[in-house]
Structures are given as C-alpha cells and as structure tokens.
C-alpha cells in the first residue's frame, strides 16, 4: 500500500499532464483543421517511435533497423483485437487494452530479436534486424486472417490527440527515468564499451535484451495508436523505409539524447509537410537537407546532451 502511494506520488505529475490534455484534445479535434490534427498526431506517434528506438540505438548502441517491424506487429495485433470485439467497439478502455496487447506482441518479437544481438555486433546486427522487420512484414502480408495483401480495414478509430500524447508522455517519462537511473547507466556503458562494461559487472546480455524488449513494446504501442487513428493498415506502411525514417530521427536528434529524439521526430514529421509547396522537389530538398545536416552537424542536433528546464545538461554518457 505504501509502495502504491509512493508510486502514485512519484507519478502524480505525469498523471496530471496525461489527464489535463483531454480537454485540450476535445478542443483540438473540434476546432482544428483535420489536416493539422493529423500532422500533430503523427508527431506524437513518431515521438514514441523515435524515443523507443533511441533506447536501443542511441543509448544501448545496438544498431537496429527493424523498428517498423515491431510497429507493424503492434498495429496488427491491436487492430485484430479490437476487430474481434465487434463493430460497435468504442472507448478508452478497449483502446488501452488493445495497445497493451499490441505492445506485448511486439515485445515478444523484441526478445526474439534481442537474442541474436547477443552474438552479433554493429552492422551485422543492423542487417539482421532489418531482416527481422522484413520477415515480420512478409509474414503479415501472407496471413489472410489479417487481410494479407488487401490490408486490414474497418479498425475502430479509437485513438486521437489525447491517447497519442498520453502514451507519448508516459513513454518519454518512463524511458527518461530508466535512462537516468543507476540501472540506466548500464545501457550507456554497453554502448561505450561492451567488454569494459562486462568487466565492470554489467550483465550485458540482460540489458541488451531489456533494451530490445522495452523498445519493441513502445514501437508496438505506437503501431496500435497508428492503426486506431487512421482505421486502415497495410504492410506498405511498415517497410524498412519506415525503419530508416525512425533511425534518421534518432541520429539526427543526437544518439543518446531523448530530448533530441523528440525534437527530431517533430521536425522530420513537419518538414516534408512544410516542403509540400514544391511538391515535385519536396523529397529532393528533404534528402539534401539530411545530407547537409549530417555534414555540418555529424553528432546530431543535441549530440548526447539533453535539453532540460535548467540548462544544457551533460547527457547520460558521462
């Protein structure tokens, strides 16, 4: 009981933020142009994806290129769940349960991917995770029960601004606390030097699998939100290009920086929309910007620093 109270007190602020945005959500969905609302919601989903991949790539240093696969699993599992409830499904509870189921489905896959990460390093791991993502996609594409090549339609549009940003806040706070805890230093230690970390008594196996599992869980939640926001999913939304997009957010934000990942996720979601004026040159400008940004600031926007209320605070690496 005391523990529960402690937990509640510690998370009171989070709860307030999560709850307080519901009125805002109502107002936004009523007054805002659906196009802008959609972009804002996509920012929230991408924040979850970038921050969760940041735990794997940026903080633990396990280069993963399969995040879209986890997202796909979460999307399909949670959508299959709400679809199984019937057509008249509505409500936050159903959505929450669906997101949790989607998240856990993805987390199981995260464990599976975490296991090869124990043997493989660097680019080999990157390419294996890419392979895992593609295998997941092809398997879904060939499963008729979830629509196969037709895609999955008629998913109840349960998610909106409120649920997406509620999840984003919880995700960011959870990962921030994890990374800045004593245990969190173990992740950074693995990134900096795996052998030294092991020599200092860090159970590298355990932490690598944990990073993959938690990262995959949140990617699954993001997928569930995505599915329940647009109401239709197809495996084309979860190709390795999506994985790359998320990796770009993490690296551009600064590997290891949670606030950097958030900023980059927002910037890279809005940027293509801002460039819509020159529709034909949009993606060309986008890719040029990407190259120029990397050439001028190779460690990403924030490096491994965090943007905090007080000032620039050294990141978790030191």
């Amino acid at each position: 009981m005391a523990g529960l109270l402690h937990l509640l007190r510690r998370n009171a602020l989070v709860a307030v933020i999560v709850l307080a945005q519901w009125p805002l959500s109502m107002a936004l969905s009523r007054w805002l142009n659906p196009y802008y609302l959609q972009i804002i919601v996509y920012i929230g989903i991408n924040v979850i994806l970038a921050v969760s991949l940041n735990l794997i790539n940026g903080i633990t240093g396990q280069f993963s290129l399969g995040h879209a696969g986890f997202m796909a699993l979460g999307a399909y599992v949670s959508a299959a769940f709400t679809l199984s409830l019937g057509a008249s499904v509505a409500g936050t509870t159903e959505l929450l349960v669906a997101l949790l189921i989607g998240g856990f489905g993805a987390a199981v896959a995260g464990v599976l991917v975490g296991v090869p990460s124990l043997r493989l390093r660097g680019d080999y791991l990157a390419i294996v995770t890419l392979g895992f993502g593609e295998i997941i996609r092809v398997l879904i594409l060939n499963t008729n029960a979830v629509g196969g090549a037709r895609g999955l339609t008629g998913i109840a549009p349960l998610a909106g601004f409120g649920s997406v940003y509620g999840c984003a806040v919880v995700c960011v706070v959870m990962l921030w606390r994890l990374v800045h805890s004593t245990k969190g230093s173990a992740f950074a230690a693995i990134r900096e030097d795996e052998i030294a970390a092991a020599a200092m008594g860090v159970d590298t196996t355990r932490y690598k699998v944990i990073a993959f599992t938690i990262g995959a869980f949140w990617a699954g939640v993001a997928g569930g939100l995505f599915a329940h926001f647009i109401g239709y999913i197809h495996t084309n939304s979860f190709t390795f290009l999506k994985s790359i997009e998320i990796v770009v957010m993490v690296v551009l934000g600064g590997a290891g920086s949670i606030s950097g990942a958030i900023l980059a996720a927002a910037a890279l979601t809005v940027l293509p929309e801002l460039l819509r004026f020159g529709a034909e040159y949009r993606m060309i400008i986008y890719s040029l910007l990407l190259i120029v940004m990397m050439l001028t600031r190779p460690t990403g926007l924030l490096g491994n620093r965090e943007l905090t209320w007080r000032s620039w605070k050294p990141g978790t690496a030191h």
């Binding site: 890419l130 593609e134 551009l252 460690t299």
Partner: protein, 300 residues
C-alpha cells in the same frame, strides 16, 4: 527435373547480378566500414544511363553486340564518375565522425538519387531497348537457356575476374587491400588513402552500372526505385558471404539469386523476400561473421 534446371539457370543469372552489386558493397565496406545505402541507386542510375546512351547513340533501334559493349562501358564510366563524386561530396568529410552519421548521409544520398531520379528520368517505368536480340541458345527438353542469360553470366564472370586481377595484381589493388587491412597503417606507409577510396567507389559503382545494364536486358522495365530492393538484397548477400570478402560476396550473391528463384518457383513468390532474410539470420546465428568471414578476436 526440367523445371529444376530451368530455375537453376534463372537463379544463376540473377545471382550473378546480385554478386556484381554485392562486390561494390563489400569493397566500400572493406575500406570505409560503411553500408553504402546509395549503392543500389547507383545501379539504378547505371540502368538509366544505359537506356539514354542506347537511345542517343542509336543502338536502341539497331541491336548489335558491339552496341551492347559500348553502352555498358559508357554507363560504367558515367557511374564510376558518379561514385567518385558521391564519395567526395558526401562521405569524405565524415570519415572521422560517428559511423551512424555516415550511415544517415548514405541514406540521404540514396533518397537524393531516388527522388532526383524521379525528377530527372520521370517516375514512370521505362522500357529498356533490346540491345541484343533474345534467342534461345540451347534447348534440352523444356529447358531453355537464352543468350541473355548466358551473356549475363559470362560478362559478370569476366568482370569479377577483372576486378580480382586489379585487386590482387596491380599496385592500386595492393593499396586497396592495405587500406582495408588497416587504415592508419596504410596512411603511415605513404598510401594516399583519399585516392584509394575514390578508386574503390569508382570500381564498385562501375560494377553496379554493369549490373544495371544487364538487368535492363533481362527485365526491360526500369524505374527510379528499382535499386531499392536489389540494393538491400545485395548487401544481405555481401553480409552472408562475410563482408569485406570478395569470393564471399560472389557466393552470397549467387546463393541469394538461386534461393529467390527456387522459392518463387516452388513455394510462393510472396515469400521470396523473406526467405533470403531467414537464411541470412540462420547463417549469422551459426557463424556471426558470414560464410567466409574471418573470425576476429576482440582485443581488450
């Protein structure tokens, strides 16, 4: 049995193309430790270049073997220059930076080639001219080997032998091997590392262009996004063989081509993309450095 042999021929000619692209990946990775994501798009540019050159020079309407050779050589030259340019502009300045930023730059270059390609060449598929008239070279039962299949296999083989000669027997090849062995030591021995890197990109891109030209002959439909999947597959092939290892890239490419054709023929073409990855993961779990990879002991 006939079907088996037929698929074997198809698989070999596809595999030869993958092998050519994989060699470029493996070379760049060997010296720069970079997954050059733009490599698959260089292959696309190769096919496009060949298309335009064939039309400009009039070989598109008058097929001949000489025309094919000229088109392929010109396309290889153009892509070699493109490869050198990419290295100079995008990668050179990042060499001492975190590898992830180099990877993102490679992704940026890849996107630039894809979307720039859509702008320059147009987004619609183009139909590659028949530079060489296709006819069956030999026929046994229902097994047909076309001259195109034979050409792809023979030309790829010749290019691989040429590459091996350059790498093993020439001075630049020796420099290339030295740089891939140890960057710093090579620089200390007076090797111009920049020059070697430029050369590596030129060689790799030329091979990709050759692959692009031959794919045009085999599968005439070419478009600006055609490099995407073959690029990834060829990289997987390079990893499968043990990245940085030349024979490994060739074997990996052939394995990839054969697996894909057999899976499409005997299972289902929808599983084609996945099976390659399943094999990759299987191999890497048993032998984490790939089939021919050297086992390196990590020093503390």
């Amino acid at each position: 049995m006939d079907q088996f042999i037929q698929q074997l021929i198809n698989g070999l000619s596809w595999g030869a193309i993958y092998a050519l692209i994989a060699l470029g990946y493996t070379m760049v990775y060997g010296v720069l430790r970079l997954i050059n994501f733009a490599h698959g798009d260089v292959y696309m540019v190769g096919a496009m270049m060949a298309y335009y050159i064939a039309h400009w020079l009039g070989f598109a309407v008058a097929p001949s073997a000489a025309g094919f050779v000229i088109v392929m050589v010109l396309s290889m030259t153009a892509c070699a220059l493109l490869g050198a340019l990419i290295e100079l502009v995008a990668y050179r300045r990042l060499r001492s930076q975190p590898r992830s930023s180099m990877l993102i730059t490679a992704i940026g270059v890849s996107m630039l080639l894809e979307f720039g390609g859509q702008r320059v060449f147009g987004p619609d598929p183009k139909f590659f001219p028949q530079l060489i008239e296709s006819h069956s070279l030999f026929r046994a039962g229902s097994v047909v080997m076309t001259n195109i299949d034979a050409l792809v296999i023979v030309v790829s083989l010749a290019l691989m032998i040429g590459l091996r000669w350059i790498v093993m027997k020439t001075r630049v090849g020796m420099a290339l091997r030295a740089v891939s062995f140890s960057y710093d030591a090579a620089a200390l021995m007076g090797i111009d590392v920049n020059r070697v890197l430029t050369l590596t990109f030129m060689l790799g891109s030329a091979l990709a262009a050759a692959a692009g030209t031959m794919v045009g002959l085999r599968n005439p439909k070419i478009d600006p996004l055609m490099g995407l999947m073959p690029g990834v597959k060829a990289f997987v092939a390079a990893v499968l063989g043990g990245i940085g290892n030349f024979p490994g890239a060739v074997v990996g490419g052939l394995l990839m081509g054969l697996t894909e054709t057999f899976v499409s023929a005997y299972l289902s073409s929808t599983y084609r993309d996945a099976v390659a990855f399943v094999i990759l993961i299987g191999v890497l779990l048993v032998k984490p450095t790939g089939l021919f990879g050297r086992v390196t002991v990590e020093k503390v």
